[in-house]
Amino acid sequence: MGRVTAALFRTAWPGRKQLSAAGLSWVIALPCGLVAQIGATPLDEPIKPIPLVQDLDPARTELGRRLFQDVRLSANDSLSCASCHQLASGGADQRAFSLGFSGQRAAVNTPSVLNAGLNFRQFWDGRAGSLEAQIDAVIQNPVEMGSTWPEVIGKVAADAHYRTAFAAAYPDGVTQANIANAIATFERSLATPNSRFDQYLRGDAAALSAEEKAGYLKFKQYGCITCHQGVNIGGNMFQKFGVMGDYFQARGNPSAADLGRFRVTGNEADKHVFKVPSLRNVALTAPYFHDATAKTLEEAVAVMFKYQLGRVASEADMQSIVKFLETLTGERAGPQP
């Protein structure tokens, strides 16, 4: 049985030059080819396009939009959600670490709020099961918003405009759950569909250049796809940072935040385990990683090759992959109207 399988593999991977063509025909390209013949039929790929249509309550979304930009959510009326999740630049912070209401540095790099609704859990360590829980944690985080719910509810309820808007959007008006839900609803609306790559996935072969298509192939061949897959190209699983090498030892300067999910579960196996981040709009969200050590995509890709894939890639291949990554920038990811 074992021998038969090996033989199969050998015929499948007869030589390095034919590898790309053979792998393609066996794993992905066969349906691809079929699709090419049929026309603009969606491709069956490990990555799925973001749905173009959303079904969200417009009143709650609008309410959340206002709250998202309201500094009254922070203890000293200095920070809003938008202070760190800058919608004009990929929904993340340009700084390596955001500063909280009192100027203290956050422990990890701010993840993008764009497409956050597509993540299976929130935060680098996945400690929040929903956007509402994430909002709850940020508002009460002593470094970040540093506020309390009674304070926030008091400020929001004191605003006549909010009161009427909440009364219109929720049967029970201004409550903790409704404030969190409104912001979460707005954040769910922050999906960035119709990236060039999504157009390609939907069957538009001309959406990507040959170089970018080659970059996608390499992305798959090198195994990036094993973790960065699904609709959000990541964001649906945990993975240990440094599977194939000790990243943290090499980096030095260990911090508590480096322990990742271990801090949530206390499970030894969860040490250095983080949520695999989404790669959508990744070209806009530098710096990278929870510790913001990678300033450019190239650096990030190199680190990934070394510590996650355990492989060596040529500079050209990595460049090619970066080209592909740049096709993942979706609509609405740039400056907001």
């Binding site: 049985m1 074992g2 021998r3 399988t5 090996a6 593999f9 050998r10 499948a12 991977w13 030589g15 390095r16 590898l19 069956d44 790929e45 490990p46 990555i47 799925k48 299976f120 061949q221 195994g223 796809i225 094993t226 973790c227 897959q229 699904g230 609709v231 649906n236 699983m237 945990f238 993975q239 240990k240 599977v243 194939m244 196996a269 385990v273 894939l309 355990g310 492989r311 060596v312």
Partner: protein, 603 residues
């Protein structure tokens, strides 16, 4: 209307309330059972099981690489949570939702779900690493194999050995990936050892590639059992069992409530039967009661008719009796009048007797005999009349005597004539009394123009003798009254009686002088008022009310008819007759007030 509720009503009300509340209770009980929620819960549980199975299937698909991404391992969890929330909402409405069994089942399920999602998270991480290495292994082999073949030249045999070792190592690793066992693991370890030994035989760049390959082989060695173990543990998480338990619990509860529902339906049926029986009984009783009421009504009607006839008869008899009484009273009144008349007539006859006696005595003792003697003397001396008158002593006296006699005779005659005139007047009086009596007796009620004062005079005249005898002074206070239409007979009857009554009241007192006052006046209301006042013995207060009663009298020789007949006569004339007295010895006054009509055009 009595405010006291009768016990029978109370009983009926209590029964009605009891029946109504029983019916309401049973109805509410039968309505309580709504199987749709239970069925929906069961459907949700089946969906949960399906999702769970789907989840597990997706894990297996991911393990063997059919699933290209891990979204299928995330989505079922989201769906499971959403469906569970729906189930909890449904169940929270059920009575049994807080039973310990359910709570235990629920906790167990949630624990299983948590365990499973935790395991699946770890599976995703390890499987990704494993699949990466597995996918890389042939490429890594190729990365060494191809340059080695191209190298050629020296050390060909060593190269062939290295290639064979490489091939064996990759093959055994792939076999290990297929069927993980300690034997295979040892085989892989041995292959790795051989490769490590071969490492020195390779050129430096291929040494690095070999190191990478060996790292991935070790990764597979490490990750494969982990993934296998995780998949096994995922399969062992008793989610399906927990869901089946919940299914069984809901089924049981549903069955129980269905049984209870059936029981209550039976109760309702039974109760309805009882109610129907009661209704029939009540209906029967009603029909029976209706018949009884009809019968009694009919009897009552008959009795009523008989009673009415009897009342009519009695009324007629009474009326007859009353008219007899009236007639009797009238006759009594007439008798009274007759007595008065006879009394008066007797009085007058007395004076007639006296007159006649006086006349006869006068005639008997008449001076006419002296005339006869004188005439005899003259006749004796017829011859010598002259002498006689002149000489004879006697003759000389004779002319004087004669002239005296003439005077005496003239006196006598005048006296007799006067007495006879008396007599004639008395007889006239009698005639008058009788005539008066005749003019009133037997007259029935008829109105005629009457002068009240004349009528009063007649009444007084009828009592004149008695009044004279008792020296009663009659005071007349007559106002000017025009002729009026009156029942003359009845009015006279009343007046005669009242005057007679007053006279007797006066006579009962030993006073030398009595006064009887009669007054007549017209009242403003158009009524005629006649008062008969005396200062006689008076009437005791306690007798004032009885004085008009039939047979009541205070006198020994009284028969109690007089005033009674007066009252009757007054009633017949629509008049009122009242008596008033300040007490015994204070006199009395009788007031007759009667409606009158003036005679048209006067008279």
């Amino acid at each position: 209307m009595s405010l006291v509720i009768r016990p029978s009503w109370l009983l009926m009300m209590v029964t009605a309330v009891a029946l109504a509340s029983t019916l309401t209770f049973l109805f509410a009980k039968t309505e309580e059972h709504d199987p749709s929620a239970s069925f929906e819960s069961l459907a949700l549980l089946r969906q949960l099981r399906q999702l769970d199975a789907q989840w597990e299937l997706n894990v297996l698909k991911s393990k063997i690489g059919i699933n290209q991404d891990y979204d299928p391992l995330v989505e079922p969890l989201t769906a499971l949570r959403a469906q569970w929330d729906r189930l909890e909402t449904l169940v929270s409405l059920q009575a049994w939702s807080d039973s310990p069994d359910w709570q235990r089942g629920r906790e167990a399920y949630l624990q299983a779900l948590e365990d499973k999602s935790e395991l699946i998270e770890r599976f995703k991480s390890h499987n990704a690493v494993l699949r990466n290495s597995l996918a890389f292994l042939p490429i890594a082999e190729n990365d060494i194999h191809t340059p080695l073949r191209q190298l050629g030249g020296s050390g060909r045999i060593e190269q062939t050995a290295v290639v064979a070792d490489l091939h064996d190592a990759v093959l055994s690793t792939l076999e290990y990936a297929q069927t993980t066992s300690t034997d295979r693991a040892a085989e892989v370890e041995a292959g790795l050892d051989r490769l490590a030994a071969d490492k020195a035989l390779l050129p430096p760049d291929l040494q690095a590639a070999l190191a990478i390959l060996m790292t991935h082989v070790r990764t597979i060695l490490r990750e494969q059992p982990l993934v296998n173990g995780l998949v096994e543990r995922i399969g062992a998480v008793p989610m399906a069992v927990r869901l089946d338990e919940l299914h069984r619990l809901i089924d049981q509860a549903q069955l129980q409530s269905a049984e209870e529902d059936l029981r209550y339906h039976e109760y309702v049926l039974l109760f309805s039967a009882i109610l129907a029986g009661l209704l029939l009984y009540v209906g029967g009783r009603l029909i029976h009661s209706y018949a009884v009421i009809n019968r009694v009504n009919k009897k009552l009607q008959e009795a009523n008719d008989g009673l009415e006839q009897r009342v009519q008869q009695r009324t007629r008899e009474l009326r007859e009796t009353q008219s007899e009484l009236v007639a009797t009273a009238r006759q009594a009144g007439m008798a009274e009048i007759a007595t008065n008349v006879l009394h008066n007539v007797g009085n007058v006859l007395n004076s007639v007797n006296v007159s006649a006696d006086l006349v006869s005595r006068r005639v008997r003792n008449s001076k006419s005999q002296g005339l006869a003697k004188a005439v005899q003397l003259i006749n004796q001396h017829a011859a010598d009349l002259g002498d006689f008158f002149s000489r004879d002593a006697k003759g000389k006296l004779l002319p004087g005597y004669l002239s005296q006699l003439v005077e005496a005779l003239a006196d006598e005659q005048q006296g007799i004539a006067e007495e006879l005139e008396h007599l004639t007047r008395s007889v006239d009086h009698i005639k008058e009394i009788v005539a008066t009596q005749q003019s009133y007796a037997g007259a029935s009620s008829m109105l005629e123009a009457v002068r009240v004062t004349e009528l009063l005079e007649d009444a007084l005249r009828m009592n004149a003798g008695a009044l004279q005898r008792h020296q009663v002074t009659v005071i007349r206070e007559f106002a000017e009254v025009p002729p009026l239409l009156l029942d003359k007979h009845r009015l006279l009857l009343i007046l005669v009686n009242l005057i007679s009554n007053a006279k007797q009241a006066l006579s009962a007192q030993d006073k030398p002088a009595h006064a009887l006052t009669l007054s007549v006046q017209l009242l403003e209301a158009g009524n005629l008022q006649i008062c008969v006042r005396d200062d006689g013995e008076g009437i005791a207060t306690e007798n004032l009310t009885r004085i008009f009663a039939h047979g009541f009298t205070t006198r020994q020789d009284g028969h109690g008819f007089g005033l009674h007949s007066c009252a009757l006569a007054a009633m017949e004339m629509e008049a009122t007759l009242t008596a008033h007295s300040d007490g015994p010895g204070q006199g009395a006054v009788f007031v007759l007030e009667l409606p009158v009509h003036t005679v048209q055009g006067g008279s």
